[in-house]
Amino acid sequence: MLDAISGVVAAWQSLLGWFAAAFGIEMLQYGFMQRAILVGLCIGVMAPLIGTFLVHRQLALIGDALAHTAFAGVAVGLFVNAVFDTGVSPYLSAVVVAAIAALLIEVISEKTDVYNDVSMAIVLSTGFALGTVLISINAGGLAVGVNQYLFGNLATVSVENASLLLVLFALIVAVVAVAYKQLVYVTFDETAAKVAGLNVKWYNRMTAMLTALVVVGAMQIMGVILVAAMLVVPVAGAAQLARSFRGALLASIVLAELAVIVGITMAYEFEATAGGVIVLVAVAIYVGAVLIGKFRERRSDVVSVAESGQDESTAD
């Protein structure tokens, strides 16, 4: 199947390549840049898509938390390989440990009535500490830095990477498309969702584990900073602008894509690291959104014209 997907990647590349030739855009003529743009655009859709549901459950920092547990995951994989002489892929152990961590975050929140951020902090600390300790007691075996398993970079996305990301992308888009209503309900009002017959726990856990998959998978391809930031920053910006939830979701994707395109172009021009520049552009867009939101709230106030009782007849 991965072959078929590489086909998609190849098609995309020839499209952009043709584009580059037709309009003489230097940046687009390189294969690696074509792939960078592809995965950038994908993360610009799927991160806000899932991030919207995370942010409103106060899980904005879950990307960061899971990234730290992925560090533990790599260490666990290397440790197991060293001690038991097995050949577990550290990439795999990173994903598995992060998924377990995501589950733990949910379970701790469920069982101890704490705020989500406390369970994230506990899981993050545990993961990070576990990784550090494993590395320190097994010093000899871990020949090379753990980091190499952890962080990718937009400047070096391989075809295989891009294909993997497309799969993740399809998965996230499909899940949100199918379960959109359920996710909104569960996010907005857990109790009511429970009464409405939804298995709230199950949805929460599924979301968390999907997040683990996206965060760890994507950070290995394009770096943790980009993934973790894209989960939150465009969503926060969109919440300042949009009036409805659906509007916010769409706006967050638009803002994210804008950041990706502007960011990649600027990074190429200024020879800076693309992930970082995209995030800074996203933050700038966020600041703009806040200002626009504030301005609009005080001025052209379309909705509340119909608000006061007197104008009732004009409403709806």
């Binding site: 294969g31 690696f32 320190s136 020949a143």
Partner: protein, 313 residues
């Protein structure tokens, strides 16, 4: 080539271009290419450690547009591994030059020999051993010959000459270590100097055995260093130029050690060194050798003309 309209470097009078991912091999490569049309460039900016650095798109572009990419083999520089994948994926015609090809690596704890030796990891820092470094020069030479056959004779001449210099380095090291009574060296650095230890039969004691997490000093690392210093009456230690100075300062504060002096596994270079056009051999002679003279007790820091580096910043 998958690169649309890429000017792959052959145009005009400029010759083929080679880029290197690591300072030492950039230096070797430019020595070999000296006087030939082959241009050599270092990708990692001065001051940065070879691993733990992320390239931006311009670096990937440089690699793709270059005719050869000199790298240190798999799993040492993650970004280089990924760049190689990119080169392959883009069908770029960049020749990949693995300097580690055919070199036998030692196990990480070969010289430590204590009960900690687990796993089958190899130590990647082979270029610290001049003999093994010579082999990497050969690898580069062969690749460059393929790159520009017209310059074959010049390339081989350069390589032979440089191999001679490396032999000199080897002899100089040998002399230093032969002259020493002490067979142990305490370093406040990560475990990068075992090749010197194995070659010249001296025990290298890095503060941290772990190649990766040099930030993480354990309490026992400190006790072990302290014991070693006291047992062997050590007064000077080596400290890595591109690593945190904190452990060295701590050993200074806690033990009879009087000063630390610089050692470098050639992972990065300081700006001054670039300005003075120092290469591998210059650094070996001006940084590492005097330090080993001092820490082994052959010479005082004054005699080794190394005072400037006492407890360096």
């Amino acid at each position: 080539s998958g690169v649309v309209g890429s000017g792959s470097g052959d145009e005009g009078d400029s010759g083929p271009k080679a880029v290197a991912s690591f300072f030492s091999f950039y230096d070797f490569a430019r020595k070999v290419a000296d006087g030939t049309p082959i241009e050599v460039e270092n990708l990692v900016p001065a001051g940065l450690h070879g691993h733990g650095w992320e390239p931006d798109a311009s670096v990937t572009r440089d690699i793709i547009e270059a005719d050869a990419f000199v790298h240190v083999g798999e799993e040492f520089q993650p970004w280089a591994d990924r760049a190689i994948r990119t080169v392959e994926d883009d069908d770029a015609d960049t020749a990949l030059v693995n300097v580690r090809e055919g070199i036998d690596l030692i196990d990480i704890h070969a010289s430590v020999g204590d009960d900690e030796a687990v796993g089958g990891g190899k130590d990647p820092h082979f270029w610290l051993d001049p003999e093994r470094a010579k082999q990497s020069v050969e690898n580069i030479t062969e690749a460059f010959v393929d790159l520009h056959p017209d310059s074959e004779s010049r390339l081989r001449e350069n390589a032979d000459a440089f191999a001679g210099v490396l032999d000199d380095i080897n002899a100089e090291y040998q002399a230093i270590f032969d002259a020493a009574d002490r067979r142990v060296v305490q370093l406040a650095a990560h475990n990068a100097f075992q090749y010197i230890g194995v070659r010249y039969d001296v025990e290298m004691h890095p503060l941290v055995f772990n190649l990766a997490a040099s930030d993480d000093v354990k309490p026992t690392d400190m006790t072990r260093a302290k014991e070693l210093v006291e047992e062997n009456d050590i007064r000077y230690i080596g400290a890595a130029v591109f690593e945190s100075r904190r452990p060295a300062e701590q050993i200074l504060a806690e033990t009879p050690v009087e000063a630390y002096f610089p050692v470098t596994p050639f992972a990065g270079v300081r700006k001054e060194w670039v300005e003075q056009e120092w290469g591998y051999t210059d650094i070996a002679r001006k940084i590492n050798m005097p330090t080993f003279e001092v820490v082994l007790g052959n010479k005082t820091p004054e005699e080794a003309d190394h005072e400037d580096w006492r407890n360096f910043e």
